[in-house]
Amino acid sequence: MTDAVQYLERDGLQDLIQGLQKAGYHCVGPQIRDGAIVYDSISHVDQLPRGYSDHQSPGQYRLQQDDNPRCFAWANGPQAIKPYVFAAEETLWRSLRDTAGELQFTEHVVDVGPLAIIGVRACDLAALYLQDKHFLHAEPRDPGYLARRQQLLLVAVNCTHPAATCFCASTGDGPRATYGYDIVLSELDAGYLIEGRSQQGLTLLAGLPTRPATQGQLEQGDEESHQAVAQQTRRLPGHNLKQALFANLNHARWEEVAKRCLSCGNCTAVCPTCFCHAEQDRPALDGTSSDHVRQWDSCFTQGHSYIHGFTLRANTAQRYRQWLTHKLGSWHDQYGRSGCVGCGRCISWCPVGIDLTEEAAAICGDGEP
């Protein structure tokens, strides 16, 4: 039976990686780089951050290693899985110019092979759902995003070690993965609970040395999820804050937060749902071609609101307000839910430790309509 929850010994994860590789997938998983957890190419379980935990607080991210046997005893790193679908930089098309000045435009086809990401968090699956809505569920669809998205297989790992900055329980997006994955794992001290969801996931699972999970193992998994909810101290009101935010466009807090905010854009760079990007041309030195490239952009930059000679959002208060009213307000009308999935990255990676949940509470109260 592959549809019941199975148990996989810790070393069995290597069989999963090999099974994925055999099925043609390039595997990516969490690893340590520059003192943070990042996703990178992986071929062996030894590359996983075994024994590491992360300590996050406003403006702070530190890893610590101890004799913990687990590989997923951390919340998240700065990088979600966003770069694997919405690339940080991508060529959209190229123009070729001949000596007569005639132009020819050629499409840039994103040609990536099948990719499996191991260790995806529930918050990032929720973010992926939102990015799908933005790039794929409205006409026209984004060809680069589509090409990457179609090749993706996701192995989720339920989060058991939320950071102090996490609030996915209040946004309804975690800590357990409930949709959007192919396979989901719950890490226990000696191995994993494992479940398939998609046909591909179930097929892969059938090739692994699993056995049915015991009642005790299942209870342990559930208990750890409950604890992961209980540990979360930050929260956003679960209901739509749009009205409360737009009723408070002149709230004194916008100016107050602007005194602390550096307008650096770190929050938007680590946010798994932010989709803004800028386009620019990169002409070749020989003058015969030019690439039209897009790059992640941020509503905190001066150029973001530039229009024929002036900057619409000239000050930081206006930029912070644009970000928050969009993320927590307008997203509801555009995509049917809030643009925040409770990952807490914008809090940890803000150089001055601005806390989105605190700002939202100061501006909206509890936001009850």
Partner: protein
Amino acid sequence: MTNPYLPYEAEVIERIQESPTLFTLRLRFTDPSVHDAYRFAPGQFNMLYLYGVGEVPISIVSDPIDEQILDHTIRSVGRVTRGLSDLQAGDRIGVRGPYGRGWPLTVAEQRDVVVVTGGLGCAPVVSVINYIMRRRERFGTVNIVQGVKHADDFIWRERYEQWQQAPDTKVLIAADLGMPLWPWHVGHVTDLFDELQFDRERVIVMMCGPEGMMRVVVNHMQAQGVGDDDLWLSMERNMQCAVGHCGHCQYGDKFICKDGPVFCYRDIRNLFGVKGF
């Protein structure tokens, strides 16, 4: 699937200097099948691409039934538009479009029409005025109001003079700063509002130009008893992709490039005029 970002090559058929800073590029797609298949509605815009420099959103001035040439009137103000202003007949650029929602022409039929524009705001509505003039019998009284800062900025004088000859049509022009022999009003365009002729029960107002000017028009029309459903505005923001992906033209829950640029006032009244959005 076709790539929504890919431009098509177009040739500059003619370049017209309209004023010291305004110029018009008359364009034709070099691939006849692309040119033949191209359709647009008044109020929509194209992305014009200058080789090696970048793209800009520019509204289409031509009449939709003119199958020959696509006109774009541009103010030379930034990196791309300054480069575009150096082009001559025969030069090639990239064009993709049309994008956005245009003016509510079917809604406007059988009704009195007031068109108010400021500065180069006239460009996005010239095609709608042409559209109305060619089907004059389908519309009630038509008022065309154009305000400019300096009399020098007033372009297409002949068109306005021609429109003035049409039956039941009023043309009102104002310049903040006049010049010798300036035959129209010197002062604000709002000074002329008392001369407008329309039935507030059946009027539709279309406006384009600086938001401060449109705010004044909205206030005036509301004071006259015109409903928010009958006020239509063309909005502008930074646009890079033109298909609702890049996020720059975000306006509350709207993307100006896709949900607009023409909006019914009712749909944007909560945010309209709020600084920073």
